[in-house]
């Protein structure tokens, strides 16, 4: 009941509530992208020579690449020389303190930067524009041997680990935006769970874009060593602006033997206004490697924000008997566009994957599922099931499904199914005649449609996700 009231109250103030800006003194690098900027970022972070070399190498690769155009997306030209690649709040006078303005900002977003008892279940790494401003519970986690810190700190304190795992899943030349990110990435989270350790709390990264004209290039690296377990959450928001801003991230996950990683995202970047002005371009490369035997990786994502979303959280199932699941809800409204899905590459024997994707398009939006299930020749006993459903609300939106299934082994069993439909008049009528308004009825039906995915999210996230779904559907019916 409380949850339903939450939905209703959410509907009442359906504006993008995270769209405020924080007025804080910040320092910026000049606009534009060249080798000097790459060097300046590296120098600013006091990085070792190998890291700079890595960036420059990626930058040269990026220069030789062209922006891909295969997505079912209409992307206005992006001027990469018109973006600020580094912006950071001025460092506080005392080292250990966080600017109260920032604390207020994150409080407003519901992200506590204090280690309060009530929320001790979640450790947060908060990233503001190009830098991480605070990582909570580092000490508590360190007692168990867990490393959870901003990426730039990891480069200083654990260079051997970073070097060992960086770019092992997403090489710098993987794709256009991965190369760009590898050259100019500023901050993100690094997480290492040692052998046999079960992480006692949820870890989370929260990304906030604040400054105008900046691009955010986060880099997250999660390593789960043998037999360990971690649940990781990611959230993101940005102010409302009429111009588009670029967010190009890389998330790499390495799962060793018998380890398990859950990665959940609630993506709530500013989606642009009702006329399609502004919003974030969210071009992200997320990939996990199930390296060891019986390793497990679970992706859960709720995508409600961004003007354009272009991402495919993928898993390479290399260890024998490894398992990966991808659960996704992608909602687009007004003029939003999404081209998202997953890739499951089965290399190990007896590997199993499951894909459940629920797309909802409303307004004039375009929502595509694009996926790949690939079985290598040596991978016997592979099992995959994919289910992609699309829901259309209104007659001006589009819902598309572009799966690719490739099988090179006679022992595999793969299934793919996809359906497209609209909210049935009968369902609506049933709810309407019980006195539920049309909008609430749609929110209820969509909530039910997406519940397969929502129920896999950690509790706080599930409530937030439900609220976002109903808020973002506002005005899409009638």
């Amino acid at each position: 009941m409380a949850e339903k009231e939450d939905i209703l109250s959410g509907l009442a103030n359906a504006e993008y509530s995270e769209g405020f800006t924080t007025d804080i003194e910040q320092e910026f690098f000049p606009k534009g992208l060249n080798e000097d900027i790459v060097r300046a970022i590296s120098e600013r972070k006091n990085e070792p020579a190998w890291m700079l070399e890595f960036r420059l190498n990626a930058f040269r690769k990026w220069q030789a690449m062209e922006m891909p155009s295969w997505g079912h997306l209409t992307i206005p030209p992006i001027d990469f020389q018109d973006i600020i690649y580094f912006a950071a709040p001025k460092p506080p006078k005392k080292r250990e303190e966080v600017d109260p303005e920032l604390v207020k900002t994150f409080d407003k977003l519901g992200i506590p930067l204090h280690e309060r008892d009530a929320l001790s279940g979640v450790a947060v790494d908060a990233v503001f524009d190009s830098v991480s401003v605070k990582t909570t519970f580092q000490k508590t986690l360190a007692e168990k041997g867990i490393i959870f810190c901003p990426f730039s700190e990891a480069v200083q304190n654990h260079p051997e680990l970073v070097r060992k795992y960086l770019a092992k899943v997403v090489p710098p030349g993987d794709n256009y935006f991965a190369a760009l990110n590898s050259a100019v990435f500023s901050d993100g989270s690094f997480c290492y769970i040692p052998k046999g350790v079960r992480c006692p709390m949820e870890l989370s990264s929260y990304f906030r874009i604040n400054a105008r004209n900046i691009g955010q290039f986060e880099r997250t690296l999660i390593v789960a060593d043998e037999g360990s377990y971690v649940s990781y959450l990611e959230g993101c928001t940005a102010p409302m602006r009429d111009e588009n801003q670029l967010h190009a991230a890389i998330v790499e996950i390495i799962v060793e033997k018998d380890a398990e990683v859950k990665y959940s995202t609630v993506q709530n970047w500013y989606p642009g206004d009702k006329q399609g002005r502004g919003g974030i371009f969210n071009f992200v490369t997320k990939r996990g490697l199930c390296r060891g035997e019986n390793s497990r990786l679970f992706w859960t994502q709720v995508e409600t924000g961004s003007a354009i979303t272009w991402k495919y959280p993928s898993t390479i199932l290399r260890g024998d008997g490894s398992l990966s699941e991808f659960y996704s809800v992608a909602l687009t409204n007004n003029y939003q566009q999404a081209d998202t899905g997953t890739k499951m590459v089965h290399i190990g024997k007896n590997t199993v994957s499951r894909i459940v994707s629920k797309g909802i398009s409303a307004g004039q939006s375009q929502n595509s599922y694009r996926g790949l299930v690939k079985v290598a020749a040596g991978a016997s006993g592979v099992r995959n099931h994919s289910q992609c459903d699309s829901l259309l609300i209104g007659d001006k939106c589009g819902a598309h499904t572009f799966p690719v299934i490739e099988c090179a082994n006679g022992g595999a069993i793969l299934e793919h199914e996809a359906t497209t439909s609209k909210i049935s008049d009968e369902q609506l009528f049933y709810l309407r005649q019980r006195g539920i308004s049309e909008e609430d009825a749609v929110a209820l039906i969509v909530g039910g449609y997406a519940s397969d995915v929502l129920k896999r999210l950690p509790m706080e996230f599930a409530i937030e996700a439900r609220r976002l779904l109903s808020v973002n559907l506002e005005g899409s019916v009638g």
Binding site: P403, A408, A412, H416, T419
Partner: protein, 214 residues
Amino acid sequence: MDRLTIGKGITRSETLLLRGGESRAWDITVCSGASLSLVIIALPGGVGKIDCDIAVQFEGEGGECQLKGLYLAGGSSNVNIKVNIVHNWPNCISRQLFKGIVAERARTLFFGLIMVPEKCIGTEAYQENHNLLLSDECIAQSLPQLEIYADDVKCSHGATFGRLGDEELFYMRSRGIPLDEARRLQMVAFAGEVLEGLPEETVSEALTALEMLV
């Protein structure tokens, strides 16, 4: 490219037999109230590649189009089947069922696009693609695609990849049916859905070809 128009209200059945090295491209228009049933059978043998390209569009409301296909690929053959159905009129129906048996070092590709432009409501479009893989050297690909710009539609696609069932084989073998025969029977059952209702000579040619893959 062959053109085929099914005139208003006409019901028509066609069978298309492709042997190794043959290629066909058909551009089909189904007029209002017309109904087409097309069966495509790609047989192994010969050298080179089989390319089959089918494009279907509608001309008026209430058209119906049923496509069935069976592709048998062995040796190092290469079979490409492309189906492109554009539901450019409201209230039309299309049904597709494509089944493939892929053996030895063969490569097959099934590409099927269902496209429903804006305002083409009342569309029903279904597509199924099933692949039976008999070896570890073959490669089968399936790209079932849906592109939908109208809301009041019913569209679905499904694709599966699998092997001969061990339990079914065991059942038959425990009743004295030799392994090869048991395998053949399963394959016949798999292909049956496409073959039923076809002229006898076509069926027997398909079954003979199927035997080559056992």
